[in-house]
């Protein structure tokens, strides 16, 4: 994209805010977000990522995106993964190794059940308002 002016930045923000909000609007695609800071990667997040991609492939699921994020701060349960599925509560899973990743795809995404013993709480509420503070 070429250099923006103030107006262009504002219109871009409005547009991408909508995109990010789709995370919790019904009927939209599901998302898997893997914590990939140095800590997560050291704890095996890359293997987790591979396991998710393989499992999604095996089950021919194409409506779920897999993206990365930084460290959530839950170092004691790395690798951590956020799973956003329409009509289900958004949850953070911890200690997600390749086996658990497969289980999350099969249980959470397909059978629509939360995976027991791996749920952790996001450590703090989000201070960013959904409407961008308008």
């Amino acid at each position: 994209m070429a250099k923006m002016t103030l107006e262009e930045l504002r219109s871009l923000r409005n547009r991408v805010q909508g995109d990010l909000q789709k995370r919790d609007i019904e009927g939209k695609d599901s998302r898997i977000i893997i914590g990939m800071g140095t800590c997560g990667i050291a704890a095996g997040a890359k293997e987790t990522l591979d396991a998710f991609l393989t499992a999604l492939d095996e089950h021919k699921i194409s409506s779920t995106s897999v993206t990365q994020s930084g460290c959530m701060g839950l170092c004691y349960v790395e690798p951590t993964v956020e799973v956003i599925v329409p009509d289900m509560p958004t949850v953070i899973y911890g200690k997600v190794d390749a086996k658990t990743a497969k289980k999350i795809v099969e249980e959470h995404l397909i059978a629509r059940r939360l995976v027991t013993d791996h749920i952790f709480d996001r450590p703090a509420a989000d201070i960013i308002k959904k409407d961008g503070g308008k």
């Binding site: 250099k3 805010q17 701060g73 013993d117 450590p123 703090a124 960013i128």
Partner: protein, 595 residues
């Protein structure tokens, strides 16, 4: 088919020990009784970091947060909440009873942490500028470029009460204002990302998770003080952070958020990365600036301060990563929002890297004024392995230890100094009864001695002398005079060293001498290490009445010091034993004793 309700039962160790399993079973039974077992999913979760209020049960999607739940409450949660849709008021967490500081109305009340610096970490894809922009990103830059004058920005910072997060806590607005007022054609903005305290990784995580917040803040500073060039000094050991910063800078340039004529405002600003080789002293601002200039990283006498005469002799604002990450929020939300959080002495939040003998180690961001007890026993879930809390070390090699009596002290810059430690950059290492305090002091001292640049005598010679004395004490050769000598050297180093590294090197010793003098005396007078850590002061013995002759210790001993036939009591040859402790760890019958 998705479920109507999800019930999350905390299965953390603390909650489990107070009957969360029974609650879980009772919830399942109650669901069956009401015939709704297939409409509700009940799951056990990991620790919620709210242990003092446990056991915790959370019901989704309503997000009802039930605390101190008893097994007999399970029936009510199902009958009232799930079946009739009425939340069980008496179990809901009461925010009025909360002792937390600075609740902000629109924030869910039960979470202990409050994230400003880490607001985007773990939320956005750090390699996507669009996701940053979607979450109020570059909104502060808009304000700074088009709506506010330099004076207004400084005034906003002043009213916010933001103090530098690198350790010293100097008011950020003053630094900026000195540089703004300094008369010079060329000025610089520098980000100190030379994070070096053992166990500290706040800055790395911030840069890896949210690089744009630092870029945005530095650009705002450039506009405020009249600088057009910024440098990020980051250690080469942080390759992922460097990589993400580079991606972020490239994206920002493409969007016209860095470079010439930013957003058509006519203001030019760009940033370069400078890699450090990982010398601890380069985190000291004057040494850091030397290193950017390509010289050997050694501290320079202050004054003149960098704000007046910094990089290449030009006025320079230098702030730490965490300080920078606060700036966009202060500018876009306003000082009045920010200054509501924290204590009168210290505003906002502080990120700590909570490590050591703690159950839930991790990055913790809390409002200033949160107590150590909240951080360690609630968010941190307490001491691992149910051991007894001994002390917590804050401020890294420059800081000190805090004991149980300080657990309820609200943490801010002032209170930590008063308690004999310091905020530092945010390392927080928890120790339990198995940690030897002399050994801990020695660890930090050895670190500082290794990292001393050698320029000034008090630090170079004083540090070595202290290390020699501590070594002597841990070997059982200490005398009472050694304590007096260490205190004298320590005081001299504090007064005579050129930079903060030397001035604070004795802190871990002086602070542990304050709180744990008895333990030093045990090493010196009784020649004993109470925690059983100092190898020269301990010996391992096999208890005759407990040894079953299983032969495990004998097979595992790396030096073959243990002898004994199968099913007979084994014996350790004290002359051959190297006190490695392997036998102690592998014995399943508690038959090995440390004397």
């Amino acid at each position: 088919m998705a479920f109507r309700n999800y019930i999350l039962v905390c299965g953390g160790t603390a909650c489990e020990s107070i009957k969360s399993e029974q609650i879980y079973q009772n919830l399942i039974t109650a669901c069956k009784e009401h015939g709704i077992a297939d409409e509700v999913q009940i799951v056990k979760t990991g620790c919620f970091g709210f242990c003092e209020q446990g056991p915790i049960v959370k019901v989704l999607p309503e997000d009802a947060f039930y605390v101190k739940v008893k097994p007999e409450d399970a029936a009510d949660i199902i009958a009232e909440h799930v079946v009739k849709g009425r939340q069980v008021e008496r179990l809901l967490y009461d925010k009025k009873s909360s002792t937390r500081h600075a609740r902000v109305e629109d924030i869910q009340f039960y979470q202990k942490q409050f994230r400003i610096v880490l607001r985007n970490c773990g939320f956005i894809d750090p390699e996507s500028i669009d996701e940053y922009i979607a979450r109020e990103g570059y909104q502060a830059l808009e304000r700074a470029l088009f709506e506010m004058t330099s004076e207004e920005i400084i005034e906003e910072l002043r009213n916010s009460g933001l103090r530098g997060r690198g350790g010293a806590g100097f008011p950020t607005w003053m630094k900026w204002n000195f540089t703004r007022q300094a008369k010079n054609d060329i000025k610089y903005v520098v980000c100190n990302a030379d994070e070096g305290d053992p166990g500290a990784y706040m800055d790395r995580s911030t840069l890896e998770g949210d690089p744009h917040s630092v870029l945005e803040a530095m650009t705002i500073c450039g506009k405020t003080i009249g600088a057009h060039k910024g440098y990020i000094y980051i250690r080469a050991e942080y390759p992922l952070a460097i990589n993400r910063l580079e991606i972020a800078m490239k994206q920002a340039r493409e969007y016209g958020l860095l470079g010439t004529d930013i957003l058509g405002s006519g203001f030019d600003f760009d940033i370069e990365i400078r890699l450090g080789a990982g010398a601890f002293v380069c985190g000291e601002e004057t040494a850091l600036l030397q290193s950017i200039e390509g010289k050997r990283g050694m501290p320079q006498p202050r004054p003149p301060f960098p704000a007046i005469k910094g990089l290449w002799g030009k006025p320079t604002v230098i702030n730490n990563v965490e300080t920078w990450a606060n700036i966009p929020v202060i500018i876009s939300r306003g000082a009045s929002w920010f200054s509501k959080i924290g204590t009168s002495d210290s505003k906002g939040t502080k990120v700590f890297a909570l490590t050591g003998k703690i159950r839930n180690s991790g990055l913790v961001e809390v409002p200033m004024g949160t107590t150590l007890r909240d951080i360690i026993f609630d968010i941190g879930g307490g001491i691992a392995g149910n051991k007894k809390f001994k002390a917590v070390q804050t401020g890294g090699p420059s800081g000190g230890v805090l004991t149980e009596e300080y657990l309820d002290t609200p943490i801010d810059f002032g209170s930590l100094v008063k308690a004999g430690s310091m905020m530092g950059s945010g390392g927080m290492i928890v120790m339990d009864e198995d940690d030897c305090i002399v050994d801990v002091a020695k660890f930090y001292l050895d670190f500082s001695v290794d990292e001393s640049c050698g320029k000034c005598a008090p630090c170079r010679i004083g540090g070595k002398s202290l290390a020699r004395i501590l070594e002597k004490i841990t070997k059982g050769n200490g005398t009472l005079q050694d304590i007096t000598t260490m205190e004298a050297i320590g005081e001299a180093m504090k007064k005579g060293s050129l930079c903060a590294l030397g001035q604070t090197t004795p802190n871990p010793i002086l602070s542990t001498l304050d709180h744990f003098r008895d333990e030093y005396l045990a090493h010196i007078v009784d020649k004993k290490c109470p925690a059983g850590k100092c190898k020269d002061l301990i010996s391992y013995w096999i208890l005759e009445d407990k040894c079953t002759g299983c032969t495990v210790c004998g097979r595992k001993c790396p030096v073959g010091a243990i002898t004994g036939a199968r099913k007979e009591v084994h014996v350790i040859d004290q002359n051959a034993c190297t006190q490695c402790g392997v036998c102690y760890e592998v014995c399943r019958f508690d038959a090995i004793e440390i004397r």
